[in-house]
């Protein structure tokens, strides 16, 4: 800023006192948290050694959060097997949920009243009952259907018989329960995405001679994705954690594995922490994936795509460096001339 005389006027920035106080409080809270996470507690025992004839005793301490036990079980084969099952269940149930969800959303928006009301009823039913109850239901389905058969409806003609107990093993019961339930939530997400696409896009596609299917596949869905992806990312993260309910129908996923271990050694807290840390790690990886996926589907919606976190860090670093660099106006002027 310059005055009329051309001299630079000193600018005094506003002091944000409130921000400083809030910052100080947060630092104290974080410090307390870190301190308690890595604090040690006395076990009530003492250990004594004799060195050079001198006997010294000191109390035995342990990590409050038993990090040594957490570390010990963190990569044990039971936990890793459980983790694999958790990831498998998450991926398969989400795939099932997304495919079902998009199908139901398209049905819901169909001009055919039978299709749209069927879709509505589906969402009503699966959103209206707890997923835990649904899992128990599929796990026990063989109580009401001893076998399933494929044939002509309302006749005794059947081409294929399947035993329900073997079909609905714990893993499959969990998968079907989680997937069907997810389909209901995904259908609402997909529907909001489909509605968000401008009507003019559909008209333009029709005027080029595209069929309804082509219009949906090539024009509407890719643009709906921009709206569908962020909440779907949340659904994946939520699904990852919901799979822990499968432990209730004897699927040994990561929580089930932790439970099996602490049932034998009573180290309840360390094993719950082990499972939690694994959930956190996968959630973090998923969040990073979500960021790049959102960026990909934002093509065309924004004039300039948002910078990646790495690019943003680089930008910040450059900004800070620029602040500290001494300006050399005379030299740059010569260089440009």
């Amino acid at each position: 800023m310059t005055s009329d005389g051309g001299d630079a006027v000193k600018v005094v920035p506003v002091r944000h006192v409130g921000r400083w106080i809030a910052g100080a409080v947060m630092i104290v809270v974080v410090a307390m948290l870190v301190h308690t996470l890595f604090s040690k507690v006395s076990t009530g025992q003492t250990s004594c050694h004799t060195v050079n004839g001198l006997r010294t005793c000191h109390p035995v301490t342990n990590w409050r959060f038993s990090w040594n036990i957490v570390f010990h079980y963190f990569t044990s084969s039971e936990i890793l097997h459980g983790l694999l099952l958790t990831i498998e269940l998450t991926i398969l149930a989400m795939v099932m949920g997304i495919v079902l969800g998009i199908t139901i959303a398209v049905m819901r928006l169909s001009p055919n009243r039978l299709l749209s009301s069927t879709a509505w009823s589906y969402t009503w039913f699966f959103r209206g009952t707890p997923v835990y109850v649904q899992l128990l239901f599929w796990f026990n389905i063989s109580a009401i259907y001893q076998s399933l058969s494929i044939g002509i409806p309302f006749t005794h003609v059947a081409f294929l018989h399947i035993n329900a107990v073997s079909l609905f093993n714990p893993f499959r019961a969990a998968l079907i329960g989680l997937g069907l339930n997810e389909g209901a939530y995904m259908s609402e997400i997909a529907r909001s995405g489909l509605i968000a696409v401008d009507e003019g896009q559909i008209e333009a596609a029709s005027s080029l001679g595209m069929t309804r299917g082509q219009t949906l596949r090539l024009v509407v869905l890719p643009q709906a994705m921009r709206v569908i992806i962020p909440p779907t990312g949340n659904e994946v993260i939520s699904m990852l954690k919901t799979t822990s309910l499968a432990s209730a129908i004897s699927v040994v996923e990561v929580l089930g594995a932790a439970q099996n271990i602490y049932a034998a050694n009573y180290e309840v807290m360390p094993l719950l922490i082990t499972a939690s840390v694994w959930y956190l790690i996968i959630t973090t990886v998923l969040s990073i994936g979500q960021f790049y996926l959102e960026r990909h589907f934002a093509r065309g919606a924004q004039r300039t795509p948002p910078p990646t976190p790495i690019a943003r860090l680089r930008q910040d670093a450059r900004g800070i460096l620029a602040k500290f660099r001494t300006p050399r106006p005379a030299m740059t002027r010569e260089a440009s001339a």
């Binding site: 003019g200 029709s206 005027s207 080029l208 001679g209 595209m210 643009q223 004039r303």
Partner: protein, 257 residues
């Protein structure tokens, strides 16, 4: 135009209503091959609806509408009208280009992909050949340097020129323009009209819904004035626009000119 040639578009007593409101009340219109026809009239007069009936984006309720000698949306056989299948309607539409007021470019595709997608997915043209043709058309509308851009990175005038290229890529026999310059800043109108004039000179059959009277006077072979769903007046633009006979057209022109 010789008399024995079938006109490109022929409308006889076309009617259309939306939930009780009559938008078209028996419209007659003839568009010969290679001619430019302008539809003018106040908003709500049914111009856009008529245009949209021609490529069956809207279904007309009564009357006969023929494009290239064929009934739009129906087939006449054994004295009955059979509604055409969706697939047949798609084939018909692919031969009629349409340009919209709001451009309606596919936002998720680059400029080049906007111009190739119809060729590749509807006409089954090989991607390479489609890209070559798309580049020719983009050069023709002066946008060959923008092929990698997304629509949101272009000005309204540029987007509309891409939209024209997209429609031309289908090698249409007829081009429909629905108020192509109404959503543009005034200084961008000219660049779009220039492309359309160039297209008219090349012999394309065009129907243009427009408020640009200068364009209508300069380029149109025939002007139709629609008001409240009927054609009030039609004919040579010099006649219709400079010496209107109906009172309605006189008052309309006094407001827009």
């Amino acid at each position: 135009m010789s008399v024995d040639v079938v006109p490109m578009v022929e409308a006889r007593a076309v009617c259309k209503h939306y939930s009780g409101i009559e938008v078209l009340k028996g419209v007659d219109l003839t568009v010969n091959r290679g001619e430019v026809t302008c539809l003018i009239g106040p908003s709500g007069s049914g111009k856009s609806t008529l245009l949209r009936c021609i490529n069956h984006l809207e279904k007309h309720d009564a009357g006969e509408l023929l494009v290239d000698g064929q009934l739009v949306g129906y087939e006449a056989r054994d004295g009955k009208l059979y509604e055409r299948s969706d697939k047949q309607i798609c084939v018909e539409r692919s031969r009629i280009g349409m340009v919209f007021q709001r451009f309606n470019l596919f936002q998720h595709l680059t400029v080049l992909d906007n111009v190739t997608i119809g060729q590749v997915k509807v006409k089954n043209v090989a991607p390479d050949a489609a890209a070559t043709r798309a580049r020719e058309l983009l050069a023709r509308v002066g946008l060959d340097a923008k092929e990698k851009n997304y629509p949101s990175q272009l000005s309204g005038g540029q987007q509309q020129r891409v939209a024209i290229a997209r429609a031309l890529a289908m090698e249409p026999k007829l081009m429909l323009f629905d108020e192509p310059t109404s959503a543009l800043d005034p200084e961008l109108v000219g660049e779009v009209l220039d492309v359309m004039k160039d297209l008219a000179r090349s012999g394309m059959t065009m129907i243009v819904v427009t408020h640009e009277m200068g364009f209508a006077r300069e380029v149109a072979d025939t002007v139709y004035f629609l008001d409240r769903g009927i054609i009030e007046e039609s004919g040579d633009p010099r006649q219709v626009l400079t010496a209107p006979s109906s009172e309605r057209l006189k008052s309309f022109l006094s407001k827009v000119l």
